[in-house]
Structure formats: structure tokens, C-alpha cells
Amino acid sequence: MTQQLSVHWETGDRLEPITLPPVTRLELIKYAGASGDYNPIHTIDEAAEKAGLPGVIAHGMLTMAKISRLFSTQLESGFVQNFYTRFVGMVFIGDVITLGGKVIGKEKRNQDTVYRFEVFARNQKGKDVAVGELTFFTLGDLTRA
């Protein structure tokens, strides 16, 4: 395993976008089980239709969790400190979601650096389904956690 112990970004840098496989019902069932959110609009068609939706929709929190994947490979260098997401669109079964983000600010605090990101999850039609901001705190001193 190659360990990259410190990341370095500049304001304006874009994260390599991640395009995920199409959303499946099984994925939503698994997330319902793992999160404890059994609201049936996420898993059962009849319940979704009764709520006036064209079909089951993904949990907003699942989309937010997917956004955090953008930073998963960097967790050796720091952690997600402040993570905000607004759920602006619905995600349906079969949707292909792309995650992305860019650096909008950077602040040095002694040896540590706090990077500010704008992040998004977008569907195959190019419409945002979740947008937000995130700060990634990188620790300058390896002996501290």
C-alpha cells in the first residue's frame, strides 16, 4: 500500500470526479438496514407512490455518505471536519451519480491546514441532487491525531 502522508491542494483545484454505478434497489435496502432508516419511500414502490413520488427515492443521507467518498483516500492525512449538504434533488433507481468538488479556500493554522471545498452530487442529466461545503483538516504533525 502506498501511503501518501500529506496532501496538498491549491484554491481552484478540482477533485477527480467519481462516477458511480447506477443506483439499485438492493443498495437502498442495504442502506436502510445499515442506517436504521426504514422509511418505506426508500424501498417500497407503493409507499413512494402513496407519497406522490414517481418511484422510490434514495436516502439523502446515502448521497451525502457517497460525497464523503471523495475524501476517503485522504484520511491518512486528515479528516472531514465540517460537512454540510443541502438535498436539492431526488435520486431514483437507475440514476448515475457523479461526485465532485473543488477547493475554494485554504487556511494555515500552525502546522495544520484547513482546506475548504465546494462539493456536489449530480445525476446523469447534469442536475445537482446534493450540494454543499466541506472542510478537510490536515494535520501537520504526524504524532498527533
Binding site: E27, Y31, A34, S35, A65, N82
Partner: protein, 149 residues
């Protein structure tokens, strides 16, 4: 209405960041990071132990706000924030509670929308805050009316 419960907090509950629960969650979100899942890799990392994904606190139990009744269905999750003092460690016990922070309304094209803001807090065994998670829940006029009929 709910405004009379504004500022109330739940009694709270102790939650353990369970290994198995973290694995199940990581699998469900498709993020098989060894720092979440592998003791050996985690031991040699800067954290010295396994950590949990940032949105994992959604799985905890926070207790209930007495007297606060919300519609059983039709609630919309508007936004969500997590604020961490440090990562959450696998195996640790976290004291979690819920606060009803704010309530306001806006006029939408299909009638009144009620916005309810909740904060979920997790503290370590010394009472130090690990995270705060803030959610905005939207109640549409249709859902609100259904609840009160």
C-alpha cells in the same frame, strides 16, 4: 404545535461505535476504506485505531424529545451538517442526545412550509464533544394538515 418544545433536549443514550455496524455501514455506502475496516492498517495509521465514516452518527440512538410529536411520514430532509472535533473511533462509547434547536416557517408556492432544526450531539466519556450534527426537516402544509385532522 411544536414551538412550545423549542430548546428541549432528549435524555440521551450511550452508543457504542460497533465494529460490525461500521463494516455494514461502509459496505452499504460502498466505501471499503481499510481505515474503517482493517485493524492492522488502522493500527499503523496516524489514528492508531479504526475510525468511522463521517456520516456514521446517523446510525446512533439519541433518545426522544418528550412531548414533541412529528408527522409519521412525509417529512423532507432539507439539509444536514456534521461538525467534528476529531474523528470517531471504532469501539468507543459515545453519549448522544438530541436538541430541538429552531423552528421557522416560509411561504412556498404550495402553501406554508415549516422548517424544524435538530441538533444531535455526541460526547466522549469525559463529556468532551466529538461531533454535532444539525438537520433541517421540512414539513409541508399538506403533511401538517394531515397530522392535525
Amino acid at each position: 404545535m411544536w414551538t412550545d418544545r423549542l430548546g428541549s433536549r432528549s435524555q440521551g443514550e450511550v452508543n457504542e461505535v460497533e465494529k460490525g455496524a461500521v463494516r455494514k455501514f461502509a459496505e452499504a455506502i460502498g466505501d471499503l476504506n481499510p481505515l474503517y475496516l482493517d485493524d492492522e492498517v488502522a493500527k499503523n495509521s496516524r489514528y492508531g485505531k479504526r475510525i468511522a465514516p463521517p456520516t456514521f452518527p446517523i446510525t446512533f440512538r439519541y433518545g426522544f424529545i418528550e412531548g414533541l410529536e412529528l408527522p409519521k411520514s412525509g417529512l423532507i430532509h432539507g439539509d444536514q451538517r456534521f461538525e467534528y472535533q476529531r474523528p470517531l473511533f471504532v469501539g468507543e462509547e459515545v453519549f448522544c442526545y438530541l436538541v430541538f434547536k429552531d423552528a421557522f416557517e416560509k411561504e412556498g408556492s404550495r402553501g406554508r412550509l415549516d422548517f424544524l432544526v435538530f441538533e444531535r450531539v455526541g460526547e466522549d466519556q469525559e463529556g468532551e464533544r466529538i461531533f454535532a450534527a444539525r438537520s433541517t426537516i421540512i414539513v409541508t402544509e399538506a403533511v401538517r394538515k394531515e397530522m392535525y385532522t
